[in-house]
């Protein structure tokens, strides 16, 4: 079974700070690396995704950094806001279906006002 290791398990950040969540994967055949955001009572929703042909992707305050040689990728949330408080999951996939995802263990992010 392919594994994706995510850390930290929980994270507390002050408003305006930077939140950083890390993931490490094993299978070099993976070629799709999304991050999902989940609010209480809701299903996860795609936040941002990257493919290994680039080392960084930015969408607003959210950035994915990708290190192919180290088999690691991370999510950076700049200027963190209380509304960002949620559970974040990294995931990986490969081949022709990007729906068959392998997820990390999840990080509960709390942003204090």
């Amino acid at each position: 079974q392919q594994q994706v290791k995510q850390s930290p398990q929980s994270l507390i950040v002050q408003k305006g700070g930077i939140s950083i969540i890390n993931c490490a994967y094993e299978n070099t055949a993976f070629d799709y690396f999304p991050w999902y955001q989940q609010f209480p009572g809701k299903g996860p929703a795609l936040l941002i995704a990257i493919r290994p042909d680039v080392s960084e992707k930015k969408e607003g305050r959210f950035t994915i950094s990708f290190n192919k040689s180290a088999k690691q990728f991370s999510l950076h949330i700049m200027d963190s806001q209380p509304g960002d408080s949620a559970t974040y999951f990294c995931a990986t996939a490969g081949g022709t279906s990007y729906g068959k995802l392998t997820f990390g263990q999840g990080t509960i992010l709390t942003v204090h006002p």
Binding site: Q1, V4, Q6, Q9, P34, Y36, G41, K42, G43, P44, A45, L46, A49, F89, T96, S97, Y98, G99, K100, L101, T102, F103, G104, Q105, G106
Partner: protein
Amino acid sequence: DVKVTQSSRYLVKRTGEKVFLECVQDMDHENMFWYRQDPGLGLRLIYFSYDVKMKEKGDIPEGYSVSREKKERFSLILESASTNQTSMYLCASTGIINSPLHFGNGTRLTVT
């Protein structure tokens, strides 16, 4: 917007009961999935389907089966519920390759 609807938000069942979890999507997606979410373990794939009447095992299929008789509907079946199947169950769908996964809001199942 894609909508994935899971028929029950909460379910309480007894050990040994046969349990059906229903999921319907409204975007004509070919691919549908059942995941299980547990604290500290993330989401784990139980079964998935790429077409009507087609199914494939995911990472943790033991104790589960699925049914896909119509394109929009994907059912998860617990043949004989056990307490270790107490969990949050998430259904998801996606269309052609390279498109994101769309999740329902989940069914929290408690087996007593």
